[in-house]
């Protein structure tokens, strides 16, 4: 089903929120030694936004170490996300989680993790509970190309398949596991081909194209809701920065390659689409840009004013 105008605008706003959020974070880090950028998602936004556009609020998302974009697309408020990254108490995890303990249960953003592939089992468990309770909800499990070489990928996809769990596995193939290219580390050309080993559909989508991701995930979500079980979607995408912010990525990839991907930028592409379809005009786009910039600006202010964890808060909460 084609997205309506409201959904298209939601997509654009969230692509931009994600991009500008991280740009704001990077700017802040250059003047404030306390701000750590971590693992930027810039370049991959079409995947999270396209996928979450296919979900309902009550559906679940489970993330990995590159969590900012997933969080924003699932509806975590930028100012609370920023507070969490700055380890402040107004973050959804009260500053105890940071980038890789990011979770906001209020919007179904359930978990992040520092271990590559480590959250695939968590995602299938959430989906298992949905199946057990017959609540009709779907869980999306985001992970990267590197995770598809972990044992949890094999164990998890097999388990999800034999139990026909309502889970959508989205592998964001950004070309690199840390500094190791996929063509070196992965035995097949398409990670989606691995789905055959688990008797589930495997689809490749252009991860620079929000609407392609949206279409593929919508179909997978429908399968889940019908009780037909999981799907593996491989989104071919690209990260503009290194594995982490500050990573000397030019030592493992050429400037030419980076520029080729930037020329296909998902946000530029979406802007052209909106203008081409006359969903908005240039003035309206500019108004959205300004609104988003303001949200990010105030998110940083909010986060900086939020109190850091006290020692007593840090020591509490080991058990319920």
């Amino acid at each position: 089903m084609d997205p309506d105008r409201a959904l298209l605008l939601w997509m654009y706003e969230h692509l931009l929120l994600s991009r500008k959020f991280e740009e704001g974070l990077i700017r802040a880090s250059t003047t404030d030694g306390q701000v750590r950028v971590g693992h930027p998602y810039i370049g991959q936004e079409a995947v999270a936004v396209g996928a979450c556009a296919a979900l309902q609020v009550e559906d679940y998302v489970v993330s990995n170490h590159r969590s900012h974009g997933h969080a924003i697309a699932k509806g975590v408020e930028p100012r609370r996300l920023m507070a969490e990254l700055l380890r402040r108490t107004d973050g959804p995890s009260k500053g105890k989680g940071g980038e890789m303990g990011m979770a906001d249960y209020a919007v179904g953003f359930m978990s992040s993790t520092e271990i590559v592939g480590g959250n695939i089992p968590m995602a299938i468990g959430i989906a298992l509970a949905s199946q057990y309770k017959h609540d009709g909800r779907v869980t999306v499990s985001f992970f990267g190309d590197g995770a598809s070489n972990q044992g949890t990928f094999h164990e998890g996809l097999n388990l999800a398949s034999i139990w026909r769990l309502p889970v959508v596995f989205i592998c964001e193939n950004n070309g690199y596991a840390e500094a190791t290219p996929v063509e070196y580390a992965i035995a097949v050309d398409d990670i989606a081909a691995r789905a055959a080993g688990y008797a589930m559909p495997g689809t490749v989508v252009d991860g620079h194209d929000t609407l392609s991701v949206y279409a593929a995930v919508s179909e997978a979500v429908d399968r889940c809701r019908k009780g037909d079980g999981p799907t593996l979607i491989e989104a071919k995408t690209y990260r503009y920065f290194g594995h982490y912010y500050g990573d000397a990525h030019h030592r493992y990839r050429t400037e030419k390659e980076v520029e080729e991907h930037k020329a296909r930028d998902c946000i530029d592409k979406f802007r052209q689409l909106l203008l081409g379809k006359k969903v908005v005009d240039k003035d309206q786009l500019e108004a959205i840009d300004e609104k988003v910039s303001e949200v990010i600006h105030s998110a940083l202010d909010f986060a900086r004013q939020s109190p850091p964890l006290s020692d007593s808060e840090r020591l509490a909460g080991v058990y319920v």
């Binding site: 249960y105 271990i115 695939i120 089992p121 959430i126 298992l128 097999n158 319920v320």
Partner: protein, 322 residues
């Protein structure tokens, strides 16, 4: 508790089985998951069901009463199904997940230490990991190292039922370390559900001359040793740890304040072990109580766990009372 109820005898595995069964009846969100919790999965149409009833029969009979939705046999994929247990728990269920043997933990260690133990804390309390991980084995020290998971070791059928029931009802992740040595031992077990408070150790025999710390099957051994010393005029107090985390330091120190001497038994490897951890706590918090050096009795540091046997516990007691 009436005398009639107390005389009902169950073996250790039956006590665990009854605890799980009663909690599954009481609470629809409780389910079991693991390898061969029933066995012969999916072959009910051929008249094949409950082939194993769990490793050592602990979950025997559950699938007939609760069906395959609540008695979930898994492939041999410990990382996936332990992590899935955490996911199910944070989504409102109470999984009782079986890690057949403790030394299988290695293949699921990320799930155990980074998800099971940590998810509640790192999400600022959003995650409620109401999950039980039950396992046979003595190697609990690696688990105790990581904050966030409660660890218990029943010592007889009565404590097995009470601790399992408490663990299932607890909103925290709890690991139950069972022992194959206890599997067929029998003891009085009340039929009605009951809990034993997590975080509490108990004095199973009072004494005034020496404190002897027991854990799991070693508690019975310690009681036997204590009895033998009684005839020699040495009054041994035996403490059964039951919960290993959070550790009931007060019960240990209260006993030591009385006896001034302590022997700590352990069935786990000696380096960085529970026994040496308790010794350290005593050295830091209660050095002045001591009239003799702390003695630990553990298996030798070889890559196989056996013992310790009674003779070594007796030798240790002689050392501290000399």
């Amino acid at each position: 508790m009436t005398a009639a109820i107390e005389t009902r005898q169950l073996s250790y595995w039956q006590a665990l089985n009854e605890a799980i069964k009663q909690e599954m009846r009481r609470d629809q969100t409780v389910f079991v998951m693991g390898e061969d919790q029933a066995g012969a999965a999916g072959r009910q149409a051929q008249g094949l069901i409950d082939a194993w009833g769990g490793p050592f029969g602990v979950t025997r009979g559950l699938i007939q009463e609760f069906g395959p939705e609540r008695v979930k046999d898994t492939p041999i994929s410990e990382a996936a199904f332990i992590g899935a247990g955490v996911g199910a728990a944070i989504n409102g269920l109470r999984p009782v997940v079986d890690l057949m043997f403790t030394h299988f933990a290695g293949v699921a260690w990320d799930q155990i230490t980074n998800k099971f133990a940590r998810e509640h804390y790192v999400t600022g309390g959003q995650a409620c990991v109401s999950m039980v991980l039950k396992t046979f084995g003595p190697c609990y020290a690696p688990f105790l190292h990581f904050p966030g998971m409660k660890c218990v070791a029943p010592s007889d059928p009565y404590t097995a039922k009470g601790l399992m029931t408490a663990a299932i009802r607890d909103d925290n992740p709890v690991v139950i370390f069972d022992s194959l040595r206890l599997l067929r031992t029998k003891g009085p077990v009340p039929e009605a559900p009951y809990t034993i408070e997590l975080g509490k150790s108990r004095v199973v025999k009072e004494g005034s001359d020496v404190t002897l710390i027991g854990v799991s099957w070693l508690t019975t051994t310690c009681l036997d040793v204590a009895q033998r010393f009684e005839s020699q005029g040495v009054d041994v107090e035996v403490v059964d740890l039951l919960t290993l985390e959070p550790l009931d330091e007060d019960t240990i120190l209260r006993s030591l304040a009385k006896t001034k001497r302590i022997v700590i038994t352990d069935q786990d490897h000696p380096r960085c072990s529970l026994a040496r951890d308790i010794a350290c706590i005593i050295a830091e918090r209660a050095f002045d109580y001591l009239d003799a050096p702390i003695v630990t009795v553990t298996p030798p540091a070889i890559p196989e766990l056996t013992g310790p046997d009674e003779t070594r516990i007796e030798d240790a007691i002689r050392r501290v009372i000399e």
